[in-house]
């Protein structure tokens, strides 16, 4: 039996190749992200609330909505022609399947974020370059946790009635700790606060990632119909 990591790699590259050839989900996620950013600009009173105060929240609400849209795709893809049954019949570990799906989701959401971030900086006139390094770390930490739980949830949600509605209902409570942490760190970075103020949040984000990645790997096989 091939190792879990090789399985993960094969599945992720298959998913990403499919996505690269059609680009439908990717382009719609991207346009959606740009639209949300643009609309958020008008969802505030610029004379009352300064951009710096509200921008980190806007960034993370946008990221999580865009991520939620992308997550539905991972297992919806396998429903057609019962492709998931084929994957399950293959002599491949369930952990590999989960990691592969999560990796493809991570690349998908990460790419949308990578394009949305400069757009955010332009739209809201935020000085991105001085904080880019730490900001990327925070985005990575929050996105990894989000994708780890989201991949598991989407594997279940896709087999329920009202799948598109079910995923956000199940998923949004799980976004509360990563979003809180990410928004706090982001606003402190843009506010030029000392590193010591964000350490606790980074610990929380890391702890969340570790706990939920391990847990999701352990329980993923129970979301599959054998």
């Amino acid at each position: 039996m091939p190792s879990a990591f090789r399985v993960a790699w094969t599945i992720a590259s298959k998913d990403l190749l499919l996505e690269f050839r059609s680009r439908t989900a990717f382009l719609s996620s991207l346009i959606f992200t740009a639209l949300v950013l643009a609309i958020f600009n008008f969802a505030r009173d610029p004379t009352a609330v300064s951009t710096v105060d509200i921008a980190p929240g806007i960034l993370w609400i946008t990221f999580s909505f865009a991520g939620l849209l992308g997550l539905n795709r991972a297992f919806a893809l396998e429903r057609e022609n019962r492709a998931l049954d084929g994957l399950l019949l293959a002599p491949a570990s369930r952990t590999g399947l989960y990691l592969g799906k999560a990796l493809a989701n991570l690349v998908f959401v990460g790419t949308v974020e990578a394009i949305a971030l400069p757009l955010f900086a332009i739209f809201f006139n935020m000085p991105l370059l001085p904080v880019l390094g730490p900001l990327v770390v925070v985005i990575a930490l929050a996105t990894i946790g989000f994708v780890a739980v989201g991949t598991l949830m989407s594997a279940m949600a896709v087999n329920t009635r009202f799948a598109e509605l079910m995923l956000p209902v199940l998923m949004l409570p799980f976004l509360m700790p990563p979003i809180t942490g990410a928004v706090q760190v982001t606003s402190k970075l843009f506010g030029g606060r000392p590193f010591s103020e964000v350490v606790a949040w980074l610990k929380l984000l890391t702890g969340y990632d570790i706990v939920f990645i391990v847990l999701c790997i352990l329980v993923f096989e129970y979301t599959l119909d054998e």
Partner: protein, 236 residues
Amino acid sequence: MTPTQNAERALRRSAFFMGLGLLLVAAVYVRALRFTPLEATQGPAQKIFYLHVPSAWVAFLAFGLVGVCSALYLFLKDVRLDRAAASLAEVGVVFTTVVLVTGPIWAKPIWGAWWTWDARLTSTLFLWFIYFGYLVLRSAVQEPGRRARYSAVLGILGSLLVPFIHVSVLLFRTLHPKAVVLNPSGPTLPGSMLATLLFALAVFTVFFFSLVAHRYAQATLAEARDAAREEADDAR
């Protein structure tokens, strides 16, 4: 005795305990309203304490047990554990709703606001969201085996999420000193109030388990009847 008759008997038994539990709850109120002194600063508003705190206790108990039953279900694949988790979650959501309704009623005259984003309030609110989602998920999956597995997975994840939410809010507060930190560590309760509270806690626990047992018996009966009907169809 057939499984259906067994289940019907269990249902009658749990109904009896539920009635007993209700009587005891009434006794809690008689004691709380008539025989427990008024709190000096809060006045009658404090009486809601004897409904709010026991409800919160059984709500958190319920969801802790949902997590335990869920984890055990994935190991043992015993359908009774799934049924227990579902009954616990359902009754737990009801008590969480009681907590979320009684809290603001007390908070408005005492704190001056219906709601604040304190750690306990936020955790309880998200507890409600998670387990409401749990019940929605159960209703959205038809096939029983799949429903049991999915809800067990969500039950386990949910019970681990609550501590993370609690810590998030604690950090959120300590890093924002301007926010009003609500310190619930008030003066220790005088004996008569403590006695009423402990009585209420015990009664609510009994009442809670009788409700769960009743829901469990109903679910067992429904399944037994379905099975009997199928058998009869096959025999025809």
